[in-house]
């Protein structure tokens, strides 16, 4: 009987407290949202399952917990803490992305820049709430609505916050169809939402091949700290556009990004152990993340309206909401809100331009914050 009680005391049931069950509940909700509601299933399912793994209470010293140096999960988590996975995800994104719409209407790139205002306003908000500058920078980047970028910057600046920040970033990315439409309707008139966009010009293959080279050189000369993310983003894109490297592009956009997404999602989920995750800071991070995301969306919309004061051909201000870099969800939301007013107005293709420039802008923003904090 004594042996049985000893054994029981070392099982999950014996070691668990209520917080573990709360986190397991959150993990199950993530899995449910991914599978049943199709909210970012490729991210929410591995993260949700990782939350389950991370919150099974284990006996300390056996090398099982993600935070124990000799555990398998710890080695897999190495790719997160050292910032290895996010650039590999970016390479896959680059190999999947077609920059044609951006090249056809470069002016839409400004919307991607405007939406990054959310990052810096939230940074100020986090400072005002008493977060240290490195933590505030990591929280601010949630406004970029880019999971890999948020994880990359947090891994560099505030490793202890990776769990809450990653979960917040991916949660808000998954909730783009819920968060953005009310802000979009609030800040635009029906007349503005009905604006149709001009047909973009045809972009040549050579332009698409030259673009990643120019973009990586220019952006990384301006913000060198964005090199790991933008370097691999544009490498992936060059592999795609060069045609002769199709095999590599195929690997980057399938096996590489899929493998890394599984490892990234699972380990980030596992890092949300109840004792680390359920703190006052996490609540603050979630609240600020929501504010950041809202400000980013609003900034893009307002900037689009300001641009219309100067442009000869007006643009649909809904495109501004796609300036956050949740690719391609925010572009899809723009299409959805636009079509709610006019079913024959197709904005998706046009919204991809600010959406992709948002990815570039948030990576540049992350690089700037990183260099500020270490400088």
């Amino acid at each position: 009987m004594e042996m049985f009680l000893d054994f029981f005391a070392n099982t999950g049931f014996g070691l668990a407290d209520y917080r573990n069950f709360i986190m397991i509940g959150i993990g199950i909700i993530f899995i449910y949202l991914g599978i049943a509601k199709h909210y970012e299933p490729l991210l929410l399912v591995p993260i949700g399952f990782g939350i389950l793994l991370g919150n099974i209470p284990v006996f300390k010293g056996l090398g099982l917990s993600i935070y124990e140096p000799n555990s398998v999960l710890h080695y897999l988590y190495f790719g997160v803490t050292k910032g290895i996975y996010p650039p590999l995800v970016f390479m896959g994104i680059g190999a999947m992305t077609d920059f044609s719409t951006l090249l056809a209407r470069p002016v839409l790139m400004l919307l991607g820049a405007a939406a990054q205002t959310g990052i810096f306003i939230t940074f100020l908000g986090a400072l005002a709430l008493g977060f240290a500058p490195n933590e505030a920078a990591s929280i601010g980047i949630i406004g970029g609505a880019d999971g890999p970028t948020a994880i990359f910057l947090t891994a560099k600046l505030a490793q202890e916050l990776i769990g809450p920040i990653a979960v917040a970033a991916y949660s808000y990315m998954a909730l783009v169809p819920v968060i953005q439409p009310p802000i979009m309707r609030l800040l635009t008139t029906r007349k503005e939402r009905l604006i149709r966009m001009e047909e973009p010009r045809t972009v040549s293959k050579r332009e698409k091949m030259i673009f990643p080279i120019i973009a990586v050189l220019l952006c990384c000369f301006i913000a060198p700290a964005a090199l790991p993310l933008l370097g691999l983003l544009f490498l992936g894109n060059l592999l795609k556009e060069a045609v002769v490297t199709e095999r590599l592009a195929q690997a980057a956009r399938t096996s590489v990004i899929d493998t890394v997404t599984i490892l990234l999602g699972m380990t980030v989920g596992a890092s949300t152990q109840a004792d680390v995750f359920l703190t006052g800071k996490s609540i603050g991070i979630f609240a600020l993340g929501a504010v950041s995301f809202g400000i980013a969306t609003a900034a893009g919309l307002i900037f689009a309206k300001i641009m219309n004061l100067f442009l000869k051909t007006r643009i649909n201000p809904l495109l501004g909401a796609a300036g956050v870099s949740a690719v391609p969800d925010s572009a899809r939301v723009v299409q959805m809100v636009g079509q709610a007013e006019d079913p024959e107005n197709f904005l998706l293709m046009h919204a991809m331009a600010p959406n992709i420039s948002g990815v570039i802008g948030s990576a540049v923003g992350a690089g700037i914050l990183w260099s500020f904090m270490v400088g």
Binding site: M109, F123, A215
Partner: protein
């Protein structure tokens, strides 16, 4: 430390302002460059014709090779006066070789082409017997048209 005090203490406003400015700078520069990319490629594709045009700007204009150099053309009035005097001195009718030879010995430049041009202008006309005459009426009409 919280509130504005924390922001000022950590130099937050300056970092935010510089940060957003750099993001805008990067994306605005990139958009400016890529907006001109297709034009740059068009120029590259047609570089030979652009180089030719550029070289033409820096070199002196040359008349087309197919047309003869007719320096006297602008001064047909002067040529007509010279040959009017010459023919009056040598007498009519005259043969063209003789007229040209006389003109050359008197130092008239480009005698052959000038005579050819005077024939084209109707100032030297054939007399139907293998010789030529000076058309005085055409000469006087030409002088009346001379710009003052």
């Amino acid at each position: 430390m919280t509130g504005l005090e924390a922001i000022f203490y950590h130099n937050g406003f300056a970092m935010a302002a510089v940060g957003i400015t750099i993001v805008f700078t990067a994306l605005v520069s990139l958009s400016l460059i890529i907006s001109q990319l297709h034009r740059a490629l068009f120029v590259w594709d047609n570089r030979r014709s652009y180089i030719k045009k550029a070289l033409r700007l820096f070199s002196e204009p040359k008349p087309p090779e197919s047309e003869p150099v007719v320096k006297y053309f602008d001064n047909i009035y002067e040529s007509a006066r010279q040959f009017n005097l010459l023919i009056r001195a040598t007498g009519e009718p005259f043969s063209l070789p003789e007229l040209i030879r006389t003109a050359e010995t008197r130092g008239i430049a480009h005698a052959h082409s000038t005579v050819s041009h005077l024939i084209a202008a109707g100032l030297i006309v054939g007399d139907g017997r293998g010789y030529f005459r000076w058309n005085r009426e055409a000469y006087e009409q030409l002088l009346r048209q001379e710009p003052k």
